[in-house]
Symmetry: C2
Subunit: 275 residues, 2 copies
């Protein structure tokens, strides 16, 4: 999937919603715990209920890896289920990997060849050769951390050299490594006002924006400061959708929450004249 | 294992060698490929042949993860084998993880609770709350990336604010998060001269130093600039030991290579009056 195809999916679904499948075992409704694979069963029902409102799903790999081999099976089953039933949806491995060149190549092989993820989040600290092995896979995306939504973002991401903050240097340096068709950036919604500065550096790239909902970011502000004439935004919501209801009707409630967000997104897309 | 115990192991073995178990399937001698688990069989023979020369083993998780569920089994078997047979040896998951607080907690659970690793490498880009969940586990270590050995290290790690380079800020800021008993830093041997500057900021912490051997770093220089009165160094060698020989005698050759490095390390420890 390239930049234009992703935009067309956004237009078609009238949504730029990414749903985070951070499916922590301890938070899954009790009724599912008798299933062979409660995490997959939870995800399957969330996906069936919400797919019409989403253009991307983003399982955070940590929530699967912490269940060992069973967790990797849940992750693989979830990915296969989406690919088989909703092939138009981008699936992002939120893995935040990154290592020296020959090692990043191994991670790329796992997520893009053995598993059929469309995109992976990558940490930039180790620089170019830690990122480019992920970019050599056709039709796959790197989503590079730039400005994250957590409190620790303040520790290093604002380190400033001659007026250029570290996250800005990440944005500018990495543009030479890929293109708008295979690279996006993580920019936290809790710093929506920064999107103005960020759009000066990356006017056209898609941004993956976490932090709306549970972390307090505003979808209206993100859209105002970050939207381009090809949308250019994937806004993620995880817990506010998937854990909105702990009852047996969790999937119906998740669909309602996703639909609410989609309706708000539709207004912003329409206001911008994109639909 | 704390700082003092690690130093005592170094004195006892007259070595500060960490052996990197970057056991890429395609580079394992053909004779092992008939085994049920060639990667584990390779590691087992390497470990049995080299354990007397090493104070640490460091499997890079990428080389296991890229084999899917089978790879995680190989990694688990390798860890269990070391813990059962050579319990004095520190085992490091070279995983370079790091995510927002509630997510890093999941990674910590996997590597420190489900698996019995003693230490994990962590990427610093996301700051304090991405690192501290790993530090709340008793007797476990975080090894934070500071100055890495790859070419991409130049891209961001030297970003300088008021004379403080990013890797120096990582070193100074993170000292508030842990202590010399639960935090080490990765400093590449290819930048040995930088160890003088680094020792001004972290005079006592252990440093994990990759890049000796295949990547061209000098053990003599690393020891001269980096050694403290409690050694303070774990120097890693991976490919130069484990892939020194592709024949059926690979383990004997690995032992010879490890013994050579240990002998050189013994000279530096002795020269410093530590043994």
């Amino acid at each position: 999937m390239n930049h234009q195809q992703l935009f067309e999916n956004i237009v078609s679904k009238r949504s730029f919603l990414c749903i985070g499948l951070d499916s922590e075992t301890g938070r899954i409704p009790a009724a599912l715990h008798t299933s062979d694979d409660p995490v997959f069963e939870f995800n399957r029902r969330i996906i069936d209920a919400t797919h019409r409102y989403a253009v991307a799903y983003k399982p955070n790999v940590a929530f699967y890896e912490c269940n060992g081999i069973g967790g990797w099976k849940s992750l693989g089953s979830t990915l296969d289920y989406i690919k088989k039933n909703y092939p138009e949806i981008l699936v992002i491995a939120d893995a935040k990997r990154g290592d020296i060149g020959n090692t990043s190549k191994m991670y790329a092989r796992e997520f893009f060849e053995n598993m059929a993820f469309d995109a992976i989040t990558v940490a930039p600290y180790m620089g170019e050769d830690s990122v480019t092995p992920f970019l050599s896979h056709k039709d796959k995306w790197v989503i590079l951390l730039a400005l994250t939504s957590n409190s620790g973002a303040d520790d290093f991401q604002y380190h400033v050299e001659n007026g250029t903050r570290l996250f800005e240097k990440v944005l500018s340096a990495s543009q030479k490594w890929g293109s708008i068709n295979n690279m996006m950036y993580v920019v936290g919604a809790t710093r929506a006002e920064m999107l103005k500065d960020i759009r000066r550096i990356v006017p056209d790239h898609f941004l993956l924006v976490p932090g709306v909902g549970a972390q307090g970011g505003s979808l209206e502000e993100v859209s105002r400061y970050g939207m381009t004439d090809r949308c250019g935004l994937l806004v993620n919501s995880s817990r506010a959708i998937i854990f909105a209801d702990n009852s047996e009707n969790f999937d119906k409630t998740a669909a309602l929450k996703a639909a609410e967000i989609q309706a708000e997104m539709e207004r912003y897309l329409s206001g911008r004249g994109l639909i």
